[in-house]
């Protein structure tokens, strides 16, 4: 059995510095997801995958999936488990749900992801981030929080390719302008290039608006086998066409190249091949803008522009609305925030809306969309391709 798989519903809680607990946000996300598709009876969901990275740290809770199932009112009978790949936990869970449905192991799977990251005293979440990299060898060098890593990436990219601080600024301005139109996003106000360029120094050359924030929140989507999906939604069907996920190193000392992300190129090649598309076929993309420099390198390594030309490409509006590849139309990580397990799912929701034609900032006639996550010390990359038609 090899079935086609559709994404038939999606919703998220309000993201930001939130009042509430992890379990509160999962309920809010499920409610928004159910409201997105009233034709679906949640009792028919036969699988649940939960994506959360810091649940043991900042919520002191393992065995999270049955807890979420209980709280959101579903009784999975084919799969009920958690998936963790830090910042790519959500998209990893979508890949697994896709495989389960494609193979006939499950018919209708909810993928829910989120985090309560803010603790009553903030030092605790920063301290816990030392577990995000190789704790013993990189965390001990003070590299848990990512700004120094991406500052080094930016410095090397600037040195090798002449990328400018203004190019980084273009990404902040674009994604904050987009998030200001997304009521669920953490940041509801746009920023100007002047504000961005005079932002508070974090790690040179990265200033405040180059860095995504720490965020509470959750998101959920529902995937279904095509034959079920046809009965469960009147909206245009959106298919998951193909995926790729690659890791070539974990510890920083084994990183093959700081400015060309080898694992991203491998994951993208896999996703394009399985989806039977090329970079030029992609109409809209959600890429992992944890830092402004990340989105620039992603444009290059996903094949949307030539290597080294990411700076001028974004500077000329190449990845803005109306450009060659509109990117992070919902605000991305820089605008929406980044509750680790939720991010890949937020990206899926925005691509689903773009392909259905009901996005807030709609890309005209979008038929193929892409999502990308990076995770850890730029150690793993995840690429998914969605389309209005099957591959």
């Amino acid at each position: 059995m090899d079935r086609n798989v559709c994404i038939i519903a999606g919703g998220m809680s309000k993201w930001g510095v939130r009042d509430g607990s992890q379990r509160d946000f999962f309920q809010e996300a499920a409610k928004a997801c159910y409201e997105d598709n009233p034709q679906l009876n949640p009792k028919d969901i036969d699988g649940l995958l939960v994506a959360s990275a810091y649940t043991e740290r900042t919520s002191y809770q393992t065995h999270l999936a049955p807890l979420v199932a209980e709280y959101v009112g579903i009784r999975p009978k084919n799969i009920c488990a958690r998936v963790e790949l830090l910042c790519a936990s959500g998209s990893s869970a979508i890949i697994l749900a896709f495989a389960l449905i494609k193979s006939g192991q499950a018919d209708i799977v909810m993928v829910a992801g989120g985090e309560k990251l803010y603790t009553p005293q903030k030092w605790e979440v920063f301290y816990s981030e030392l577990a995000s990299v190789d704790h013993d060898w990189d965390g001990t060098q003070g590299l848990g929080l990512p700004p120094p890593v991406f500052a080094m990436v930016a410095k090397q990219h600037m040195k090798q390719f002449g990328t400018k601080k203004e190019h980084l600024g273009t990404i902040s301005v674009k994604n904050r302008r987009n998030s200001a139109k997304n009521p669920k996003a953490q940041f509801q106000t746009p920023v100007t290039m002047e504000e961005v360029m005079s932002g508070r120094m974090i790690v040179e050359p990265l200033t405040l608006y180059d860095c995504c924030p720490i965020t509470d929140g959750a998101a959920a989507v529902i995937l279904a086998a095509e034959e079920k999906a046809k009965d469960l939604t009147d909206k245009p069907l959106v298919y998951l066409r193909g995926t790729g996920q690659a890791s070539v190193n974990n510890m920083s000392a084994n990183m093959p190249d700081w400015t060309t992300w080898e694992a991203l190129k491998i994951a993208a090649a896999q996703a394009y091949k399985k989806s039977k598309v090329e970079p030029k076929d992609i109409d809209v993309a959600m890429t992992h803008d944890c830092f402004t420099i990340s989105e620039i390198i992603e444009m290059e390594d996903l094949g949307f522009c030539e290597k080294g030309e990411g700076g001028p490409f974004v500077g000329d509006g190449g990845n803005d609305l109306g450009g060659k590849i509109p990117t992070n139309t919902d605000g991305g990580l820089l605008g929406c925030g980044h509750p680790f397990g939720g991010t890949g799912i937020r990206q899926a929701i925005e691509v689903m809306k773009q392909l259905r034609g009901d996005a807030v900032q709609q890309v005209p006639n979008a038929t193929i969309g892409l999502t990308h996550n990076l995770s850890g010390f730029i150690a793993a990359h995840t690429v998914l391709v969605y389309g209005r038609e099957v591959a």
Binding site: W123, F126, Y127, E129, L130, D134, H135, D136, W137, D138, G139, T140, Q141, G142, L143, G144, L145, P147, P148, V149, A151, M152, K155, Q156, K159, R200, M201, I202, V203, E204, M251, S252, A253, N254, M255, W258
Partner: protein, 162 residues
């Protein structure tokens, strides 16, 4: 000082919140790395079968899958490729800002992104030489029979070679 709400943990050392790895042989088979570090040596494991020198040190050769590893010395000085200085957001345990890191070329073995200590902001430049710096870290109280013994520990960063 009392800790409201979790008074039962008063005086307890929480290894699950430890910044540094466990270095005793009971909790880490790579303990020789830390013993050598105490002698000022920076080491890793070499595969006797295929000659690979993986870092971090390990039991299993990632190239030929042998478990026939030996300890070897690596250089303790490297050349700075580039420097970053974190002025905001330095995590607990890493002192006052700036937290300085450098990407260093360890004489062709690897490029390491490491913490630089004993260094002023603006001091370190590309092309400079840095050397291994070993320092004491908090010991871990560990049960040995009915006793609790403090296990001493060290860790490393690099510092400007003056």
């Amino acid at each position: 000082m009392t800790t409201p709400g979790i008074s039962i943990l008063q005086g307890k050392y929480m290894v699950t919140m430890d910044l540094f790895p466990q270095e005793s042989k009971e909790f880490n088979q790579m303990y020789p790395f830390f013993d050598y570090l105490k002698e000022g040596r920076f080491t890793t494991t070499r595969c006797k079968d295929c000659g690979a020198e993986p870092f971090p040190p390990r039991l299993l050769c990632p190239e030929c899958y042998a478990t026939n590893m030996e300890w070897i010395d690596w250089p303790t000085t490297g050349t700075v490729i580039d420097v970053t200085e974190e002025v905001v957001g330095v995590p607990l345990g890493f002192g006052k800002p700036p937290l300085i890191h450098a990407l260093i070329d360890l004489q062709g073995k690897r490029t390491f992104f490491v913490r630089i200590i004993n260094c002023q902001q603006g001091e370190l430049k590309s092309g400079d030489t840095v050397k291994l710096a070993v320092f004491d870290i908090d010991p871990v109280p560990q049960e040995q029979g009915r006793e609790v013994v403090e296990m001493p520990r060290v860790f490393y960063a690099f510092e400007p070679a003056k």
